[in-house]
């Protein structure tokens, strides 16, 4: 029945998106000789060791210098290469934002900006290492596509897709091992949202590993006859508002959940795209509400702090639909 979901996913071993990225980049680079990897000191954190070992001449360590990382990547793209510029999401999108705007986005160069440790996925280092504003910074720029895979398997498929995409891309990935729930062989298209689970009570849209918490909540809410339609918005820009509107016309209730600031993230872009609808709908957005991240011992503790774990979601959704 499930087109995209692994049936017994909750029993599978958790795996990190960044691990999938590191493995997939090597696989893609074997086929596509133009792929280059660069990092600002974070070779291990962004899982580029295998790439470095396999293709030493196609790997560039630029030191702790994100602005230079983006400038060099743009220059390499001008020479016909496909550079993957990798760092923590907060550093690369924040420190180098203007270089991304002018050198990459305005010139429409196929630089792949890879931001790891995004959202709340780097609990122990605290707010300076967490990225809860990166989507806002990237989706505001013309020409850039913004993608956020849901799990390990989707990350693997996505790397080849973005390599073949002749535009700038912001790839958001995470650090902590999280549930693997998307089927390895499931096909999808950049720009087309996936309906992971069908339902009629409310439409719930999210992206990234947080979808596992949502799927857990959705399963628990079935007992209360609450049937959620779960949409995986792996491509945040361009936004697939058609799929969301189609679902919303059925449910008339919309919940957006994100591990990002509500202002400037998924909720902002989704709600502002829902115009001229010929029906009324009720909506709720759950995410980080004008706050900075914080230190925590574990990822799940941090999710709880921001009420984004499955138990918190169950309570909020029950209140919302009830």
């Amino acid at each position: 029945m499930d087109k995209f979901l692994i049936s017994d996913w909750q029993l599978k071993e958790k795996r990190a998106l960044r691990d999938a990225f590191g493995e997939a980049l090597v696989e893609v680079a074997k086929k596509e000789k133009k792929v280059i990897a660069l990092t600002a000191d974070l070779e291990t954190s962004t899982r580029l060791e295998l790439f470095h070992q396999t293709f030493p001449e196609r790997f560039f360590q630029v030191g702790v210098a994100e602005q230079n990382l983006i400038g060099i990547s743009a220059g390499l793209a001008m020479q016909g290469f496909i550079p993957f510029a990798c760092s923590f999401a907060t550093f690369i999108t924040g420190r180098a934002w203007e270089q991304i705007k002018i050198c990459v986005a305005a010139n429409n160069l196929p630089v792949k900006i890879v931001g790891s440790h995004a959202g709340l996925s780097h609990p122990s280092d605290g707010f300076t290492a967490q990225a809860t504003e990166d989507l806002a910074l990237m989706q505001v720029l013309p020409n850039i596509k913004v993608v956020y895979p849901a799990d390990f398997n989707q990350t693997k498929i996505l790397i080849e897709k973005i390599t073949n995409c002749n535009t700038p891309i912001y790839l958001r990935i995470t650090r902590e091992p999280t549930e693997v729930f998307i089927k390895r062989n499931s096909s999808f298209t950049i720009g087309e949202a996936q309906i992971l689970k069908e339902g009629s009570t409310a439409t719930i849209v999210s992206a990234g590993p947080l979808l596992a918490e949502i799927l857990k909540a959705a399963a628990a809410l079935e007992k209360f006859k609450i049937k959620l339609e779960v949409i995986n918005l792996h491509t945040i820009k361009p936004l697939d508002e058609k799929t969301i509107i189609r679902s919303l016309s059925k449910t008339k209730k919309l919940i957006v959940v994100e591990d990002h600031q509500l202002f400037g993230g998924l909720a902002s872009s989704i709600f502002s795209s829902l115009k001229n609808l010929n029906f009324m709908y009720k909506c709720m957005s759950l995410g980080i509400n004008d706050q900075f991240g914080a230190t925590a011992g574990t990822y799940i503790e941090l999710l709880k702090k921001f009420s984004l774990d499955s138990n918190s979601l169950i309570k909020k959704i029950k209140n919302f639909v009830g």
Binding site: R58, Q67, N68, I72, L76, M78, E98, I102, A106, N108
Partner: protein, 271 residues
């Protein structure tokens, strides 16, 4: 081109640029005139290998204007070189024109990077040079920067990296006209000792008079070392306009009708 021809061409280019900036009502005359001889030498002495009919030629050399505000002179040179019609020059800064207030890549043939926000050109030059090295090519990559631009932290990330990668086909040129928009560089935020700074980062540094074609050509013909080279080109903002030279506000003077007429007379007299 010989030195006398280069001098004549510089005079023509400067008259064209004065006209462009006067007509547009804005534009950075200071750097447009301080960089004029150097830019003319790069494009017309045979130093840069270029074919205006093939702006994407894979054998071409690369010139990146990181100090984008000097673009009136670059635009005029590209037009005189044949990259686009000279008639387009007087559309500078007009709506619908490809001659943007600061250069935009892909808007005009011959423009390699978008610039205007300072401190970004050298990094892109490094990327191009690394890309060329990966393809076993040794085309030259020349990046011009302003002196005020040296205050940007990102410049020093790039200066460090160029030396680390031993990019011998990379040349930087600093237009050392001593002024920035707020006044004299040494008063705003001192750059000196600039030569020592670059030397300590592992670069070959050559200082020269950036208005002297004899010196410029001699330096450009020097054999490159096994590391990046920077030319500190000592120049004067609004060079050739006596009533502006040496002034703190030389960076972006208002070229009104009175200014224009006075400057025109001086330039036509001795260039």
């Amino acid at each position: 081109m010989e030195i006398n021809d280069l001098k004549q061409l510089t005079k023509k280019i400067k008259l064209e640029v004065l006209e462009m900036i006067h007509r547009a009502g804005s534009g950075h005359l200071g750097s447009s005139f301080s960089t004029a001889e150097m830019l003319v030498a790069l494009y017309f002495s045979g130093f840069l290998r270029l074919d205006p009919k093939k702006p994407n030629w894979d054998q071409k050399d690369y010139f990146l204007l990181s100090n984008g505000h000097a673009c009136p002179t670059l635009y005029a040179i590209l037009a005189y070189k044949g990259f686009f019609p000279t008639e387009d020059l007087q559309k500078f800064r007009q709506i619908g024109s490809n001659l943007e207030g600061h250069p935009k890549k892909n808007s005009l043939p011959g423009i390699e990077i978008s610039s205007g926000s300072l401190g970004m050109g050298l990094s892109q030059g490094i990327g191009i040079a690394l890309g060329l090295r990966l393809k076993n090519k040794n085309n030259k990559v020349v990046v011009m920067m302003s002196d005020g631009e040296q205050q940007e932290g990102a410049i020093w990330e790039a200066v460090m990296a160029a030396s680390h990668y031993r990019l011998k086909n990379l040349m930087a040129i600093i237009d050392r006209n001593g002024t920035q928009i707020g006044g004299f560089t040494e008063k705003q935020l001192a750059l000196e000792p600039l030569k020592k700074k670059y030397e300590s980062f592992g670069w070959q540094v050559i200082e020269l008079d950036g208005h002297n074609f004899g010196q410029i050509l001699k330096v450009l013909n020097k054999k490159l070392k096994d590391r990046p080279t920077v030319l500190i080109s000592h120049t004067i903002g609004c060079r050739g306009i006596s009533f502006m030279e040496g002034k703190a506000n030389v960076h972006h003077p208002k070229v009104d009708d009175v200014f224009y007429q006075k400057a025109l007379q001086e330039l036509e007299k001795d260039g």
